[in-house]
Amino acid sequence: MAIFHWKLQRISAILLVPVVVYVTLYLLNIGELSYADVVDDVSSFQSIFLIGFMALVLFTHSSLGIETILEDYIHDTKTQSLLVNLSKFFHAILFLLTLISLIVIKGN
């Protein structure tokens, strides 16, 4: 399980490198774009699939990182497992919210 955690953390990190660069440059430029441009960019089937997949990778990477930190610094096993589960729950909610928003934008 620990090996799986380690590998998943590395694979998600590698996948995130180009995404982080692209998204940061896009967001720095967002002031230049009209509402229609942005909607256009995020509502094609390819971009919904890509943003959805990358959100899954990002929130997985984030969740694994927070889990590692909680395991290292929270001593009480009950509190630790409660916080790890809470973190996983919030990350899942953020991922679902991303998907729902994308579907609503597409539907508009």
């Binding site: 990190a13 720095l28 002031g31 942005v38 610094y73 919210l97 928003s101 934008i105």
Partner: protein
């Protein structure tokens, strides 16, 4: 046995050095980025509410106070990204000597600062 004793690395008694400081900063910036990742679904949510809400989103993002927070987040992102790449090289068994890890450490600091300055120039 005292289960409440500090776990390794013992930050309270550990002499700060470049390698350990960068390692701790990697974790710290990771937590900051986890918190700010909330912005991804929320910005999409604003877009899904329509043009007026999107304009409101841009107006909020344009505020000086928010810009300062964003610059801090961009530094965290630049640091976590470049130090993360350093970690990936280590995982492949490359650059593990003390000399190499110090050199890559200084390179990470330089890269993060340069990316942050580029972003400040771009934002303002």
């Amino acid at each position: 046995m005292n289960n409440k004793r500090p776990v390794s690395p013992h930050l309270q008694i550990y002499k700060p050095q470049l390698t350990s400081v960068l390692s701790i900063t990697h974790r710290f910036t990771g937590v900051i980025l986890s918190l700010f990742s909330i912005l991804i679904p929320f910005s999409l949510l604003f877009i899904s509410f329509g043009s007026d809400y999107y304009q409101l989103f841009l107006l909020i993002a344009n505020h000086v106070f928010i810009k300062i927070i964003l610059i801090g987040t961009i530094f965290s992102l630049a640091f976590h990204l470049s130090n993360g790449i350093r970690h990936l090289f280590w995982d492949m068994g490359l650059g593990l000597s003390i000399e190499d890890s110090y050199m890559s450490g200084y390179l990470v600091i330089l890269t993060s600062i340069l990316i942050t300055f580029f972003a400040i120039f771009y934002i303002t």
